[in-house]
């Protein structure tokens, strides 16, 4: 491999990784945009999502990498898993919002954020205590297809991650910009009181936001599993933290910003690891976070919503 090949390969790695961060970052950014809350529960909704996806795939008769599907049946299985995972994860998000966060709406200070830390701990430990600390072999029906051998290698699973992530983000963008509910979300993000006066049901908007954010986290859990053929109770923390950094980087509350932020973090991780040392990755990422917050608190792409008074 020439140095150029290595860089291209690392960009491929980084973008795949970044696509997962992007999907997760969207959940952070949407919730923050609407109720100004850093939702730590999101970390582990993602983790639970990957387990939901694993059980759905197992229920469809897949185990490990033994069953390889192609063509229509492959697409069918993946779509069923994706939709099922998104619905169930979304429902989990709504449940968290309704039971733990809605009663705290309007309570000033850090109460809601601390609650989300608690919820995150609960999810984490329920999985740990019931499913266990084992690493799981995530079922994957995709054939191993590689383009290239000695130099740059592109694999089918990478293409899949890109395509799914891109489609979901495009759908979300359409939903937020074009539908009535999406516009209600934007209005609520800009000014909750004004939106309420204009007849927007704020509670419903918050609920939908949690549903969408959590559904995307579930989707991220599925493609995480398909990409790494692996899941475990502990995957939420690091990925969640990186995704949150991505959301801040892109300008928290800014949906396209979160997508780009995710890709940037993915690239920082892969190229930073290549050019420096992998052991310093977290230091690099958090330094980027601190620098962005200090010098451009609105993120690289600014907040999409107008400044509040």
């Amino acid at each position: 491999m020439t140095f150029q090949d290595v860089l291209i390969q690392q960009v491929i790695n980084g973008v795949s990784l970044g696509a997962i961060y992007s999907l997760l970052a969207l959940g952070f950014t949407m919730v923050y945009g609407i109720i100004e809350l850093i939702n730590f529960a999101h970390f582990n909704v993602f983790m639970v999502g990957s387990f939901i996806a694993m059980y759905i795939l197992q229920a469809l008769g897949l185990n490990g990498q033994n069953v390889i599907l192609t063509g229509f049946s492959l697409v069918g299985v993946l779509v069923v898993a994706l939709v099922g995972t998104m619905l169930l994860s979304g429902a989990l998000g709504v449940l968290i919002e309704r039971t733990a966060l809605r009663p705290l709406r309007g309570v000033p200070g850090t109460a809601a954020m601390i609650t989300t830390i608690g919820v995150s701990y609960i999810l984490f430990n329920i999985v740990l205590l019931t499913i266990g600390a084992d690493a799981f072999n995530f079922p994957n029906p995709m054939p191993t297809v590689r383009w290239g051998e000695a130099g740059v290698v592109l694999q089918l699973r990478e293409v899949l991650v890109w395509v799914v992530a891109f489609l979901l983000m495009a759908c979300l963008n359409y939903f937020v910009r074009r539908t009535k509910m999406g516009k209600a979300m934007q209005a609520t993000a800009q000014d909750q009181e004004a939106a309420r006066m204009m007849g927007v049901e704020v509670d419903r908007v918050v609920m939908i936001t949690f549903f969408l954010g959590s559904a995307l986290a579930g989707a991220a859990g599925l493609i995480f599993g398909l990409y790494y053929n692996y899941t475990n109770f502990a995957i939420g923390y690091t990925a969640g933290l990186r995704a949150f950094t991505a959301a801040v980087l892109g300008g928290i509350g800014n949906i396209p910003g979160a997508m780009l932020g995710g890709i940037i973090i993915g690239l920082i991780e892969s190229l930073g690891g290549q050019l420096l040392e992998v052991r310093w990755t977290d230091v690099i990422i958090f330094s980027v976070l601190v620098l962005v917050l200090v010098f451009r608190p609105t993120g690289l792409f600014g907040r999409a919503t107008a400044a509040r008074s």
Binding site: E36, L37, I38, A100, P103, L104, V107, P108, G109, T110, A111, A112, M113, I114, T115, I117, G118, V119, S120, Y121, I122, F124, N125, I126, L128, L129, Y237, L241, F244, T245, V248, R279, W280, D282, V283, F286, S287, L289, V290, L293, V294, P297, A306, A307, S309
Partner: protein, 673 residues
């Protein structure tokens, strides 16, 4: 109220009866004495080293919780990376009193050897330096080092919103163990430090016996309780709580937010650093794994359970959680196993409740936030209540004699405006909120600012008081340029304000609100607050007297409610309190943003009179008001703002005559129809 006749007496109540007969102060002393005695004799009663050791570990966590309580509980800064400072303190001592670093001996080290910080080691062909920093010196030094890192990391990030701070501190908490791990020459990396020296006192080494560590931990707790309580009841503590309650209002009351947040951060970090020294000395080893995120969360759980800002609460919670973890759940599992064996239940024999401790933490966090945010022992209001006599002895209404720092007309150069604004411009995005506004407020006058909703009135106030920086233009107070100063400096110069939507410190008492108002002209720092210096006590006495003077302006509206929490006041009283708080800063000019909003006509008239009497004492007043009768009665001059532009200025009659004003209020089309 339960009538005594219907009561049945239980044994518990019978036992409690003598206790109840004591006054509440006596009760408190009794309990405190019992706790102290219990803590002191515990290692003598329980001879099991394991238990004493667990208790000694618990003291370390209680100290950590007390330290974090200053940051999270008092100042309201959610620090999720607190364990990082713990690690810094631990490694500071670990490295300076072990064999980890052993540079070649040279004469450079001689002065250090003389100081007793290093020893010269010559044996087995080696000629090296052995670091032997004494524990007792290392502890305060470690506190300073950790505090230094607190400032280093706090300085750029404490300007950020609270929730960003949480994430940045979380990142910091991740980075520190990584650096420790990736720097093996200094820290021995993941392998952990070897042979950290145990503390010794008068030639007696603590070694691996638990009791000395336990007593040292208890002493640290006592010291921290003392420091936290004193800080909490001081000017510094009140400023922290004000920041926690409402940052913007705290700034508007003269609190230098960045400085005070940094102070809280540094003090909290320092305590963690000192605890790190204690912990690593006790273990005589340290690995980076000991300082990860779960440690920070555990300390946070202690604070949430005990009550944010509650000094005794967090200690209690720390003890409860440690006992739960190291004794109770283990023993409970043991009992279940015995029971399971007895009844032949396999599952019960295998059950291990210690596994669920983190789940319990999560549940505690959520339930406490949902149902008991104030914690097990709510933070008590330390401010002493006034006696009934003191309250009634004060004038209920009528003559007011308040020492306001007003400017007598003779002191000024003729022609100097109290407040002058020139060509002020502010845009948000594409919207121009304030457009080239000029205005003058003469000393001793009342000027009213009116205009339709969204005409930029509040923005103008925000620009004058430093909440927003103008894009262009100049603001001067008594001829001094104050454009772009931060809000706390503007208060210091003499401009105080109230807010349209009320920004009181809701969970602080009436008196405390007013004491915070005096922040800008008082001086006590953290050291003075802890030591109760003569100057501090005098200042405290004086600020209280001044607070009562200010409150007397509103007669007996607020005086009897001195120790009520602000959020429990009626709406009108909250408005009054906000004005009183602003007056407490001894302003030269008072900016009132819709002071009578939400008041009934009688209350409105009362307030208008009070504003007038303030002017009578020489105070300049600049107010935004919608009620035209108030404006007409009070104002010497009226300014009208529309779409950010000044469209009229003059007396009531002059202004009302202007067609532009009518147009602005009624809409363009109507006016032209």
């Amino acid at each position: 109220m339960v009538s005594p006749g219907t009561r049945t007496w239980s044994i518990g109540e019978a036992l409690a009866a003598p206790f109840r007969r004591l006054s509440s102060d006596q009760q408190r002393w009794l309990i405190l004495t019992l706790v102290v005695i219990g803590a002191l004799v515990f290692p003598l009663i329980d001879r099991n080293e394991g238990d004493i050791d667990a208790a000694a570990n618990a003291t370390a966590f209680a100290v950590l919780a007390l330290g974090l309580n200053i940051v999270v509980g008092l100042a309201g800064l959610l620090d999720l990376g607190y364990a990082a400072f713990f690690a810094i303190g631990a490694y500071f001592y670990g490295v300076t009193s072990s064999w980890q670093l052993h540079p070649e001996w040279s004469s450079f080290w001689e002065p250090f050897q003389w100081l007793g910080v290093v020893a010269h080691y010559q044996a087995m062909g080696e000629n090296v330096v052995h670091f032997t920093l004494s524990f007792w010196i290392a502890m305060p030094l470690a506190a300073l080092v950790a505090a230094f890192f607190g400032v280093l990391f706090g300085a750029p990030t404490l300007r950020l919103r609270g929730d960003y701070l949480a994430i940045v501190t979380l990142g910091f908490g991740e980075i520190v163990p990584i650096v420790v791990r990736n720097w093996p020459t200094l820290t021995n990396g993941a392998m952990g430090l070897n042979g950290v020296q145990a503390p010794s006192l008068f030639g007696y080494s603590f070694g691996v016996t638990s009791s000395p560590y336990y007593y040292l931990g208890v002493a640290l707790i006592a010291f921290l309780i003392f420091v936290s309580s004193r800080l909490k009841e001081s000017r510094v503590g009140r400023a922290w709580m004000a920041i926690r309650e409402d940052e913007i209002a705290a700034g508007a009351m003269g609190v230098n937010r960045v400085k005070l947040k940094l102070l809280a951060f540094a003090i909290g970090a320092g305590f963690a650093g000192a605890t790190g020294t204690f912990y690593v000395a006790k273990l005589q080893t340290a690995t980076p794994d000991m300082f990860m995120f779960p440690v920070s969360v555990m300390i946070l759980v202690m604070i949430v359970l005990g009550g944010m800002g509650s000094v005794y609460g967090v200690v209690l919670a720390a003890v409860i959680l440690q006992l739960l973890q190291s004794w109770f759940l283990q023993d409970l599992s043991g009992w279940l196993h015995v029971l399971g064996r007895a009844v032949g239940n396999d599952w019960m024999q295998q059950i291990d409740l210690t596994q669920s401790i983190e789940l319990i933490f999560g549940i505690i966090l959520v339930l406490m936030m949902l149902y008991r945010r104030q914690g097990l022992i709510p933070a008590t209001r330390a401010t002493k209540a006034l006696t009934l006599e003191q309250q009634t002895a004060l004038p209920s209404r009528g003559t007011i004699d308040v020492d306001l720092r007003v400017v007598a007309p003779g002191e000024l150069k003729p022609g100097t405006a109290m407040l002058e604004v020139e060509k002020l411009l502010k845009t948000f995005g594409g919207i121009t909120a304030v457009k080239d506004v000029d205005l003058r407020v003469e000393p001793g006058s009342i000027v009213a600012l009116i205009g339709p909703n969204g005409s930029g009135k509040t923005t103008l106030f925000n620009l004058i008081t430093g909440m927003n920086a103008p894009d262009r233009g100049r603001i001067s107070l008594l001829g001094e340029d104050i454009t772009g100063l931060p809000s706390h400096l503007i208060v210091e110069r003499g401009i105080a304000r109230t807010f349209q939507n009320l920004r009181l410190f809701s969970n602080m008492t009436v008196l405390e609100n007013i004491l915070v108002g005096q922040h800008s002209h008082t001086k006590t720092g953290a050291v003075g607050a802890v030591l109760h210096t003569h100057a501090m006590l005098a200042e405290e006495r004086e600020t209280r007297e001044h607070a009562l003077e200010i409150l007397s302006i509103f007669g007996n509206r607020l005086m009897p409610r001195l120790n009520q929490v602000a959020k429990e006041l009626s709406y009108a009283n909250r408005r009054r309190l906000e004005i009183a708080r602003a007056l407490a800063s001894r302003p030269k000019i008072l900016l009132l943003d819709e002071p009578t909003a939400g008041m009934n006509p009688a209350e409105t008239i009362e307030l208008a009179h009070q504003i007038k009497s303030l002017r009578g004492m020489g105070l300049t007043v600049f107010l935004i008001e919608h009620k035209l009768n108030v404006v007409n009665e009070l104002a010497d001059k009226i300014l009208v703002l529309d779409h950010g532009e000044k469209i009229a200025e003059g007396t009531a009659e002059q202004v009302h005559a202007k067609p532009e004003v009518l147009e602005a209020y009624l809409g363009r089309k109507v006016a032209h129809a």
